[in-house]
Symmetry: D3
Subunit: 129 residues, 6 copies
């Protein structure tokens, strides 16, 4: 099974990505996700560049994006992702009250998604255009 | 299979819920989801009261909540929910640029959730407290 | 893409399975699922024999089994499976009141499953043995 | 990350919910799920009232409801939920033989749900009404 | 809701991506997925470049990659993806016998994934290193 | 909760399955999955016979089948299955470069599956036949 690759043991291609992550996020070290992905430098580089792009502020601010990332991770039951994006969302300004409401929305969405499918509800004409 | 129940054919208990939905949302008629749920008046009432509560503005505004609802529905592949909450999010102010970024975040979250699980990444000590 | 294989066009190996399905279920024709699986006679035979075994009355009666099958299919969002096992559950005695309660349980389970994961709830010692 | 809230440290609103859970279930303490949800008293109260309602005996008995809850939790891969609802189902009368058959049904449903989707099986006319 | 964007109506940035897709895949037109993604040119470009990279032959050949893509799409129940990657896998050499075996593996994996979770099976020491 | 059943404590029916697993796979002991399934001898026997059948070399070789099994297990987030089928795939010849590309494909498939659903992309006529 792949082992994490630390900066000291990393190739220069991997170090370049690690350096950019640390500079962009202003952190002292990269988190485990990147150390494991470093086993496949092409995927490491592509994934980091995509994440950097997608998570940059744009039409949506960083806090909203991190909360959406957390919501999807909760819905998929990915423990690591819930921990890391929970931390990122809090760093971006998510209060505990916001977290509570976020979880309530995620819970309701999962409940009603299944009710809709169980009752086989057809799409309303008003929603098609 | 359950058929939708229209206002005209509904019991007074169902009509009371339909009336509250229409008044709260300022719409002329309820959408199909509620007409199907009306087959089970207890679930109709409980679901509506929960949704009304959870989706009211609070620490998170309505637009953020609708975008999170949409993100979860997309991640679960619920076609009806994507159509109805896509419409609700747009009504609450989601621009097409915001939709595009939302989908990009949902896509990345689904991708990295699986990379994390495939590489069996352990949670960093920094994320535990 | 695979096309459905009707009895008239089926090989004798496929016909043998179709005959057993029709005799076991007392139906005039097999449903589409089996006609598509007939493209792969080994999977057709193995799946039918497994289903016949697993769905036979035992410690759980047929109605309970069909409702569990339906609950899982709803939770997975499989439209065909919801239609076919919804019909099978009704044939086995599921009333509309039972269906309503079943959907309510499926909805709550999906909601609380995600709340548990979002709050990262550790298993109570009382549940380990 | 939210920490569990014990009875001693809980607000009176949270204690009222904890008291009702303990009285309804005849248990000495609430399980971890509720102690974590207590971080958001509104969600705690709404979730408990919904669960109490939905899981009460009705057209379906408590054992059937707990087995369905367990089946969905297994299908969603929620470890905590499998442990807690596995315990609840056993307390409600699920024997190990029943558990074995339940898992067999859940397994088959997950298998055939995917076969149906992979073969793109269209819904039979007989299932539409 | 976003509408598909055809080549004739596309911006030059979108056309550049469409041209690369058509040249790389030797097709006369791009499929609907790209016409919808064209509503968000940044996501269109990033997704196409990622796909082109990831799906190129490397340690795994194109046929294996397309079958894995199809297997994941079936497991996620994405109808469009099953249709499009089913077609791509067949174009890359997947016979109907291979498709049958692929579906059988996907089905078994989904079945045993849930059995493992339901029985709460701990990882064997032999699998950790 | 079911406990694992070791060979020494197993019934002769369970031992017969364990013996066949050990002989077929040329291993000294069965892994935990089978020891837990042994609580339900009928499911143990049926699951083993299905797996033996489905995973035997045919139109697809064993390595491809194990990689597909791993891909589905990653997509479903089943930790045990990722560990055990990761080991099986490596034993069948999966190099770390192949693993890296496999994960990249699984990641992309999960990303684009959701983009497709979010944009509500209709199936192209060319994919229907």
């Amino acid at each position: 099974m792949p082992q994490p690759i630390d900066y000291a043991a990393a190739s220069s291609a991997v170090r370049a990505v690690f350096d950019d992550i640390k500079a962009t996020r202003k952190v002292a070290d990269v988190n485990n996700f990147w150390k494991y992905l470093a086993n496949d430098p092409a995927t490491l580089k592509r994934t980091w560049e995509s994440i950097k792009d997608v998570m940059a502020p744009g039409a949506l601010d960083v806090l909203t994006k991190e909360m959406v990332y957390l919501a999807v991770s909760v819905s998929n039951g990915c423990g690591y992702c819930i921990a890391s994006h929970g931390a990122a969302a809090r760093k971006a300004g998510m209060s505990e009250a916001m977290f509570g409401e976020l979880m309530a929305v995620v819970g309701m969405a999962n409940e009603t998604n299944r009710l809709v499918q169980g009752y086989r509800v057809p799409v309303d004409a008003a929603y098609e255009w």
